[in-house]
């Protein structure tokens, strides 16, 4: 699979360079050209740097230590920081998520890793009730500087109980911040930002993105690099239609935008970064410019992120819309196992292309909607 995104904004050329590993940060001064970094390494480097900067930060989760991380995201950290700071837990999400919350209550900065966010459902009481709501219930006395991170959404062929996207569920809860990176520099910058953040954060990664490489500038590799929470990023500027997406779907949206540009539709692609707080300002400004909206997400359609974006547009930019907003989401079914059915259940590039053409009144037949 092609993991290289040609970012039109950047002028970097993609070279076949060595991948930047987590310990290669000392090399940052030596090359001003583009390096490439996988998302996995980006996350690893962010964890490494934040743990070395602040001794109160520790990582806890299943297989994060000796196994080097279920997806190798925490590779090398146990060796470097020891078992007191990289803690392998028993298989007890409710228990260790709660322990993380309690540690955050009392002054530490835990990073709790869920092997996938599907397992976070066992701990959701602690994420919502003890973490998200505590600052409010205690009237600011007890803040909870905790990060819950892990892969979210569909992987490949892992079927219904391992494939759900939780952005919408967590995104509706006040007191939480919910982020979903796409590029390696998103992953790195946002993870560093959330570890430093004093509030509970749900950090939704994506398993299929871990191995994808993206070019990173030397600025990104600097240890103080942080992205702003709550700010969406315009990955590709355009004039005809706005496509919003997050996580893996940003890649699909960019590919769709390429296909569309050959047909004369100049799409603007917004990488949301932040599901909560949603950057309504950027989205609305973009829609006011292009007058059309297509939202793309991997999760279930009802009450999803796209639904919220559409509602926000209707409330704030109704008069600017030239066409009804199009919402692309995963199929309204539990994820099937068969490979072809799974492909049908997830948004593909063709679906985005088709929906965008519909939004631009280039009549295309509707695909099946559940």
């Amino acid at each position: 699979m092609s993991g290289i995104v040609r970012n039109k904004i950047s002028a970097f050329s993609v070279q076949s360079l060595q991948r930047v590993g987590p310990y290669a940060l000392s090399l940052r001064g030596y090359s001003s050209g583009a390096k490439e970094m996988t998302v996995r390494d980006a996350l690893n480097s962010a964890l490494d740097e934040e743990m070395s900067a602040d001794p109160k930060v520790f990582l806890m989760g299943e297989e994060v230590g000796e196994y080097q991380g279920a997806y190798k995201v925490s590779k090398g950290l146990l060796e470097k920081y020891g078992p007191d700071r990289v803690i392998d837990t028993p298989v007890t999400e409710a228990g260790f998520a709660g322990i993380g919350v309690g540690a955050a209550f009392y002054g530490l900065k835990p990073i709790v890793e869920f092997m996938t966010f599907n397992f976070s459902m066992q701990a959701i009481d602690h994420i919502i009730n003890s973490a998200a709501k505590s600052n409010y219930m205690s009237a600011g006395q007890i803040s909870v500087p905790i990060v819950f991170r892990g892969p979210n959404g569909a992987a490949a062929g892992v079927a219904a109980q391992h494939s759900q996207c939780y952005a919408a569920w967590y995104g509706s809860c006040p007191g939480l911040k919910v982020l979903a990176p796409y590029l390696a520099d998103d992953a790195r910058g946002l993870l560093k930002a959330v570890i430093r953040d004093p509030d509970p954060v749900v950090f939704l990664e994506n398993e299929l993105l871990y191995s994808e490489s993206f070019p990173v500038s030397s600025e990104v590799l600097d240890s103080s690099f942080c992205l702003r929470i709550g700010k969406a990023k315009i990955e590709k500027e355009g004039t005809d239609v706005t496509i919003t997406a997050y996580s893996k779907m940003v890649g699909h949206a960019l590919k769709a935008a390429e296909t569309l540009s050959k047909e004369g539709i100049n799409a603007e692609v917004i990488n949301l970064h932040s599901i909560r707080p949603l950057d309504r300002q950027t989205i609305n400004a973009s829609v006011r410019k292009t007058n059309r909206l297509v939202t793309v997400e991997e999760g279930f359609p009802q009450h999803g992120v796209g639904a919220e974006i559409c509602a926000s547009i209707v409330e704030q930019s109704f008069n600017y819309l030239d066409a009804p907003a199009e919402r692309i989401a995963g199929a309204d079914v539990p994820m099937p196992y068969a490979a072809n059915l799974e492909r049908m259940a997830l948004p593909q590039v063709e679906d985005i292309v088709r929906a965008t053409k519909r939004a631009c009144y280039r009549s295309e037949p509707r695909a099946a909607t559940a």
Binding site: V101, G102, F105, S138, A139, G140, D197, P198, I229, G230
Partner: protein, 485 residues
């Protein structure tokens, strides 16, 4: 009225050192070890369905075993109770309370409290010399005052609720004061307490002012959580009261996390003199919840400085503990995870205090967690909305006769630790404190509209960026806005 030879309810045991405790079974019972293990349950309706192994030979035949706590078996260091001969009173508990037929296996199991103490205390002293007393006068009066405060406060809550000044869910602690006072009064300021929705008295014992608690209950902005938490969510960072949780079992992992932090601070952040202990309070119903077991496991695994305090009041709303639990003896669940499990009479504040002292110092030393089951009772219903129809009035009467406050009062007067007048003065003072608190709360203002959106985030930029491109929280009209945040 307690009939001699028949301690009033199911789990209690006559104290060997009855002269030093608040309940006074007759001497004959104390000396006869066999008698001590006889079933005490005849009158207890709730135990009818349980086969009781009344094999009195159990305790006598088994040699005293070393500490059953597997982690400590490896060491020859003193166990939780070895140092304290007074705690022999627990010794008879294990064998006859076992529901398995073999007494040998039962006594092997596992409350550290059984068979650990090697000394045989055959003839408890009846003298009341000062050296026999468990507490000093100041301590006794302090305990008394704390329990009276808890009781008076809760009674006032009930009054205020029925007058409409308080609303929602209010869960009162009447009858269980001995547990809160017995444990929390031994803590230092940096020690943490995590509780459930029945948390008013835990807050008061930990030092949160009565004014702050009652204002919180009234929903006023001067409450300890500015009216944003309510009855079930008492938090105080100054007093290290980490909540107040509505879901049962929710507080246990949080408490375990606070204990984890204490250990982390000492070992990783190298703050050598940091050794705070955490107490997790929860009920009998919680002991069937998965999170409880998860945390027993992790706390024992990582030897966290925590004490798990079970306030077994036999009822989870209307569900009797015996109907809900396969093995109702909660203290036994401790040794299954490698920590000592202790059962104590939770209506007797001095007994609770002794057990608490050991458990807390064990945790502080770094020897790991303890599970303490306090047998207690709530005199009122589960909450003020509970009609409390399922509990047998005879059971309630039995426990009412063991009211911890009256028992401590009797003890103080008997041992001449204080006079009637002093106790009355304490009660009067507490009444004034409570009334002053209610007045204060009445006069306090309701939270202003701008408070609605405050404290959602520690960093209010979490509300994101507004339509004008600036952070929403920087907009002066932000808190006057509509629900569309």
């Amino acid at each position: 009225m307690i009939k001699p030879g028949q301690p009033p309810q199911c789990f209690s045991r006559p104290s060997v050192l009855s002269s030093l405790s608040l309940s006074n079974p007759p001497p004959s019972q104390k000396k006869d070890k066999k008698k001590m293990s006889s079933p005490i349950l005849s009158g207890a309706k709730i135990l009818q369905t349980l086969p009781i192994n009344s094999n009195a030979g159990g305790s006598a035949s088994d040699p005293p075993k070393p500490l059953s706590d597997p982690l400590l078996l490896l060491k020859s260091k003193s166990s939780l109770f070895r140092s304290s001969p007074k705690l022999r009173r627990f010794s008879s508990y294990s064998p006859c309370r076992s529901f398995s037929s073999s007494s040998s296996s039962s006594s092997a199991v596992f409350a550290v409290s059984s068979d650990v103490v090697k000394e045989e205390k055959k003839k408890p002293k009846l003298s009341t010399s000062v050296s026999d007393l468990l507490i000093t006068k100041e301590e006794a009066l302090e305990l008394y005052e704390d329990m009276v405060l808890g009781r008076a406060f809760e009674d006032m809550c009930a009054q205020m609720y029925y007058r409409g000044k308080m609303f929602g869910f209010v869960h009162l602690y009447n009858g269980q004061e001995a547990v809160s006072t017995g444990f929390i009064k031994l803590l230092k300021k940096e020690d943490c307490v995590v509780s459930t929705y029945r948390d008013h008295v835990h807050a008061l014992s930990k030092g949160v002012p009565a004014r702050a608690v009652i204002s919180e209950l009234f929903g006023k902005t001067t409450g300890c959580c500015r009216g944003q938490g309510g009855s079930m969510h008492m938090f105080s960072s100054d007093h290290n009261l980490l909540g107040g949780f509505a879901f049962i079992g929710e507080g246990i992992p949080v408490a375990t996390g606070a204990a984890f932090t204490s250990k982390y601070r000492r070992e990783v952040l190298k703050k050598a003199d940091y050794n705070s202990v955490t107490l997790a309070f929860f009920g009998d119903g919680t002991c069937n919840n998965g999170q409880f077991f998860e945390c027993l496991n992790m706390a024992a695994l990582w030897k966290l400085p925590i004490v798990f305090v079970v306030e077994n009041n036999l009822w989870a709303i209307g569900m009797s503990h015996l109907r809900a639990t396969s093995d109702p003896e909660i203290w036994k669940k401790g040794p299954a995870f490698g920590m000592p499990g202790v059962h104590v009479d939770g209506m007797d504040v001095l007994k609770v205090r002794e057990v608490a002292r050991e458990a807390i110092s064990r945790a502080r030393r770094g020897d790991g967690p303890t599970l303490v089951e306090c047998e207690t009772y709530r005199f009122r219903g589960h909450s003020l909305a509970d009609p409390d129809e399922l509990r047998d009035p005879a059971e309630k009467a039995r426990y009412a006769a063991r009211d911890p406050i009256t028992a401590l009062k009797k003890y103080i007067l008997d041992k001449k630790l204080g006079t009637e007048a002093e106790l009355k003065a304490i009660e009067k003072r507490i009444d004034e404190v409570v009334e002053d608190a209610v007045e204060f709360a009445d006069e306090s203002p309701l939270p202003p509209r701008s408070q609605l959106l405050e404290n959602v985030f520690a960093d209010p930029k979490g509300f994101g960026i507004g339509p004008d491109g600036k952070y929403r929280c920087e907009d002066p009209k932000f808190t006057e806005g509509t629900a569309h945040v």
